[in-house]
């Protein structure tokens, strides 16, 4: 068994060395395309985090006193339900606010530890049925003086723009990444085809003396997989560094102060990148092996 594994590994490394240029090109393409995929994901996470409260048409949020009475709360609820200008409203409890808080400040543990659910105000999130900014602000202002209401906070124009632009940006990045991923798979397919061609005499002898099909296939599959994984690792590193740099750069920009991508999200993105890289490599190599190995 040790001998078999040794053979596969030796052959794989030898093939990789033989086709340095082609191998380099495929790994680079994998790296670039997966960096884009990773960046798109991180952008998505970041925008999600910073706009948590403003998604799905939410235009303003009515924060309530922590010690609001059930009667006061019920009255505001009735008023929202009765207003023809309100399409939908959603109550966010103190516990839910705390969960949100934990996501937003995940990087600052001391901050989370200093806060408990009962100091965070519950709220109503409101989605108006009209788009007119004046009507919306009038609607929100109506609640400002009501008993039990602490404050009314409106979504800023910039948040709306951010949400729209990031959606478009993400779609464009994904489209470019998809094209590049396809190119990467083709390049890996090509390196494996070249490797098979370079070793056709060995392969002929192997078949003749009774090497099993998997024994012949594995080095080539492994080669494709390694190329995909290597490219993905580079992509992961790039994405990680860019995320840190970007986060430092925008830390002091007011709107973006909540623009964080927590480590768990980076790790998820990284894992996804590696899985995608391995899949691209395996698919490219698998198709080449099936097509040209005839075993």
């Amino acid at each position: 068994m040790g001998g078999k594994f040794g053979y596969a590994l030796r052959e794989t490394l030898q093939n990789l060395r033989r086709n340095l240029v082609l191998t380099g090109a495929s790994m680079l393409t994998v790296a670039v395309s997966l960096s884009l995929v990773g960046a798109a994901f991180l952008l998505g996470y970041g925008v999600d985090n910073v706009t948590q409260r403003w998604q799905g048409g939410i235009e303003f949020e009515i924060f309530l006193n922590e010690n609001i009475t059930p009667e006061q709360q019920a009255r505001i609820q009735r008023e929202l339900d009765a207003s023809p200008d309100v399409a939908r409203s959603q109550f966010v409890s103190q516990a839910e606010q705390y969960e949100l808080f934990k996501v937003l400040f995940a990087e600052q543990e001391e901050y989370i530890e200093s806060v408990t659910a009962d100091v965070l105000p519950p709220s109503f999130r409101v989605e108006p049925s009209i788009a007119d900014a004046d009507v919306i602000s009038a609607l929100g202002d109506r609640f400002k003086g009501e008993p039990g209401v602490k404050d009314v906070v409106f979504a800023e124009e910039t948040v709306r723009t951010l949400l729209r632009v990031s959606g478009i940006t993400q779609s464009v990045i994904f489209a470019v990444a998809a094209v590049l991923l396809f190119a990467a798979a083709l390049l890996i397919f090509n390196t494996i085809r070249t490797a098979i061609f370079a070793r056709r005499r060995e392969i002929e002898v192997m078949k003749l003396v009774g090497a099993t099909n998997w024994f012949i296939r594995v080095p080539f599959m492994l080669e494709g997989l390694l190329q995909g994984l290597a490219g993905a690792s580079v992509a992961f590193a790039i994405v990680y560094l860019v995320r840190n740099a970007a986060q430092d750069a925008i830390r002091n920009v007011p709107l973006f102060d909540g623009f964080v991508v927590v480590t768990s999200q980076v790790v998820t993105t990284g894992a996804l990148t590696l899985v995608l890289g391995a899949a691209i490599g395996a698919v490219g190599a698998g198709v080449a092996v099936t097509k040209f190995l005839d075993v």
């Binding site: 001998g3 053979y7 005499r201 060995e202 003396v209 009774g210 099993t212 099909n213 024994f215």
Partner: protein, 225 residues
């Protein structure tokens, strides 16, 4: 050991390579397949290790109906069959030792087995001193000995030889035939395709003659024609 029952093989629809061939070869026999170029000798040989599959008829090798053999078992059939060819099929970048070891390595034989069997078989074929040479540093006869060593190192039940002396001069050919005869005497069944008249006439073994795909003669202790 080998049995063909009414076997036919067509390439495309109009090329008949073998038609209605029935042969029964017992363990330890030495059989010459003779006939002019294109008479179906190579096809006959390739059918035996399932490089080709027959269009009609059935073939048994070592007691197994090889038409019934599922694809993943074919490698294990081939481990019982050694093959040598006119063009040797040696790997040019590997030494004599490595060429022979390769055959054991790729079927997963452990290192200590390889280290004891390869030198022994190279000694047997008379190349004990040339194990470090590359194929192109050897004569044609020596290269064929390497390929025989590679085919026989796993002690197969059957040795298939497709015109093994086709590229060799008569004197060298005699040496190769002595070696094949020795291997045959260890109990290995040998099937050899050839159109070398003098070899067939000197050896006086069983002769199966093919003509345009049909067996026209099957003679024990036969001559070429």
């Amino acid at each position: 050991m080998i049995k063909l029952d009414n076997v036919s093989k067509f390439y495309k629809s109009d090329v008949v390579a073998l038609r209605g061939a029935s042969v029964d070869i017992r363990k330890g026999e030495f059989v010459f397949l003779v006939g002019p170029s294109g008479s179906g000798k190579s096809t006959f040989i390739r059918l035996l290790n399932k490089e080709e599959v027959p269009d009609e008829g059935r073939i048994w090798v070592a007691g197994k109906d090889i038409a019934q053999l599922s694809p993943w078992k074919v490698p294990f059939l081939r481990r019982n069959i050694g093959c040598i060819f006119q063009d040797f099929k040696l790997l040019p970048t590997r030494t004599v030792y490595e060429n022979v070891a390769f055959a054991l390595e790729v079927i997963g034989r452990p290192r200590h087995v390889i280290q004891s069997q390869v030198p022994a078989i190279l000694e047997l074929v008379g190349l004990g001193k040339k194990f470090k040479n590359l194929p192109h540093e050897l004569s044609g006869g020596e290269q064929q000995r390497v390929s025989i060593a590679r085919a026989f190192v796993n002690r197969p039940l059957i040795l298939l030889a497709d015109e093994p002396t086709g590229n060799l001069d008569p004197t060298t050919s005699v040496g190769i035939m002595r070696l094949l005869d020795r291997i045959n005497r260890t109990g290995t069944t040998v099937v050899m395709a050839t159109h070398d008249r003098s070899i067939v006439d000197t050896m006086r073994r069983r002769v199966v003659e093919l003509d345009r795909g049909t067996i026209v003669r099957d003679q024990t202790r036969g001559v070429y024609a």
